[in-house]
């Protein structure tokens, strides 16, 4: 299968590889996929609680080159966006940017799911914090 230059670039030079501290209240972690399906993405965002802006994003992906590129691209796009702007990222944006062929569309879907999962994890943590602040 021929890969687009952008997929190759992300594969050869993945952006923002790594892990953030899961226990940090400002970090949201999303893990989607399953090993037996051939792809697992872990995507993390670190949000500034005052501005709601994503200050940092990291990923680790087990999967094909397109899955690695989709998650690498996602972290690039997430940085500097607000949480709400991040939720507006659609898998089709990733498909278009990376010129993914039809058989690789699931990789972009997985990346969108990972973004949503990471932000929902962050929001859950923030809610807990607000609730406990009120209780205190």
């Amino acid at each position: 299968m021929a890969y687009s230059n952008k997929v190759l670039d992300h594969y050869n030079h993945p952006r923002n590889v790594g892990s953030l501290d899961k226990s940090d209240p400002n970090v949201g972690t999303g893990m989607v996929g399953a090993p037996e399906c051939g792809d697992v993405m872990k995507l993390q965002v670190k949000v500034n609680p005052d501005s709601g802006v994503i200050e940092d994003a990291k990923f680790k992906t087990f999967g094909c080159g397109s899955a690695i590129a989709s998650s690498s691209l996602a972290t690039e796009w997430l940085r500097g966006k607000t949480v709400d702007e991040a939720l507006a990222i659609k898998n089709t944006d990733i498909v278009n940017e990376l010129s993914l062929p039809p058989v690789k569309i699931h990789c972009s879907v997985l990346a969108e799911d990972a973004i949503k999962a990471a932000i929902s994890d962050y929001k859950k943590k923030a809610e807990v914090r607000t609730t406990s602040a009120v209780t205190a």
């Binding site: 037996e36 680790k60 087990f62 690695i68």
Partner: protein, 404 residues
């Protein structure tokens, strides 16, 4: 050393220049139809075909009359299964095969099932071999054919063919083996191995594509098959169609070379294969060889690199031609059914690479391949959330995955 390196010799092999040289006159000068009985063009073609028939027969311990030329192993498999099913329909309607067979067998069996035959697909053990007791239990007086491959095209494991043939014979069933990967690589002998029918391919043993053979036993028992192609009644009525003389000449020469060089070549290839395996296993943790190492083709290494997905690995070693058991390499999105049949788990199936060494691979190439694979696996593990979790001591089998 020239890049890219070809190490996918189970898919196909380059034609040996010596084979190619013997073929060339038969495209231009000696172009006759081997079935033309009344002029020298035909006689010369026929003579060349009969020489090749003997070369093929000699390699597998058969007699020339037992060799039927075909277009390749897929056709041979089809002819053997459908031909036996039709010919022996009165005797029974049951065929036994295995879950790890090539698609040419499995899909032919599926078609026969649609036509009313009963097919038993034996599972394999974790080492890739069938359980002879299960075969014994599955076989009945209605079983007309047992078809088990000699050596597997993905994991290279060699089935206990002689024992399988013996069990089949004891129940009055015929034994067919798809010997595509084995012939020319390991000593195949239709007598010692109790084989009644065997499929042979040219392009897996440095011969040309588009030519193969089916061995059909003529004595104890005399095996009969119904032709699946109607026409001029070539090949003793078993396979009509003008003979592919240059291809057949090439197949014959390829067999003769394998016959003469097999012992030495297999020693050299198993040395290279073991070197590759040892380099990978010494430098990387959590690397697993798929299938038994004891009963295996000398040129095969099928190995899983845990926590690394096969296609992404292939992408990193794009100057090396190998193949992956991972889903993503094919449009089906299903990982290798052969590896799944071993019970290795889909995750390890997704992480597998098949190395197929061949006559033209060198030790320098093996060193290059091993070092490159080690480098890319390390890089991808840095990227792998699964490797990170495993290193943290998390049991991945206990994780609730959000399967999609």
């Amino acid at each position: 050393m020239k890049l890219p390196i070809y190490m996918d010799n189970h898919a196909t092999t380059p034609i040996d220049p010596r084979v190619f040289a013997t073929m060339t006159p038969y495209f231009t000068d000696v172009f006759g139809n081997a079935a033309s009985r009344n002029h020298s063009f035909g006689w010369q073609a026929e003579e060349a075909v009969e020489k090749a028939r003997k070369q093929v027969a000699d390699l597998v311990g058969a007699t020339p009359k037992e060799i039927v030329f075909t277009s390749g192993a897929t056709e041979s498999d089809n002819l053997a299964l459908k031909g036996v099913a039709e010919m022996y329909a009165e005797k029974g309607n049951h065929i036994i095969t295995a879950a790890t067979e090539h698609k040419a067998i499995l899909d032919t069996c599926k078609r026969l099932e649609k036509e009313g035959l009963r097919v038993t697909y034996l599972p394999v053990q974790a080492n890739g071999l069938i359980d002879l007791e299960m075969l014994q239990e599955a076989i009945t007086d209605k079983t007309i054919l047992v078809s088990i491959m000699y050596a597997n095209n993905e994991i290279g494991v060699i089935q206990p063919v002689a024992e399988i043939g013996k069990i089949a014979k004891s129940m009055g069933a015929l034994f067919h083996t798809d010997a595509t990967q084995a012939v020319g690589k390991v000593p195949v002998n239709v007598i010692k191995d109790n084989i009644d029918l065997a499929s042979i391919s040219g392009h897996k043993m440095y011969g040309p594509k588009g030519v193969g053979a089916l061995y059909v036993r003529r004595k104890s028992p005399r095996v009969q098959i119904t032709a699946q192609m109607d026409g001029g009644g070539h090949e003793r009525g078993m396979r009509s169609g003008t003979l592919n003389v240059p291809g057949i000449v090439g197949l014959g020469e390829a067999c003769a070379l394998c016959h003469a060089e097999m012992a030495e070549e297999s020693k050299r290839l198993s040395f290279l294969r073991d070197k590759l395996k040892n380099m990978l296993m010494n430098e990387l943790d959590e690397v697993y060889v798929n299938g038994t190492q004891e009963h295996r083709l000398p040129n095969n290494l099928n190995i899983s690199f845990a926590y690394v997905e096969g296609e992404s690995l292939l992408m990193g070693i794009n100057d090396i031609a190998v193949s992956s058991g991972s889903a993503c390499t094919s449009a089906t999105l299903e990982p290798s059914y052969v590896l799944k049949a071993l019970g290795a788990g889909d995750d390890l199936a997704h992480s597998s690479i098949r190395f197929g060494l061949g006559r033209f691979n060198t030790e320098a190439e093996v060193d290059y391949v091993a070092n490159k694979v080690i480098e890319v696996v390390r890089k991808l593990r840095e990227l792998s959330p699964l490797y990170e979790m495993a290193k943290e001591g998390i049991d991945l089998s206990k994780v609730q995955w959000a399967a999609h």
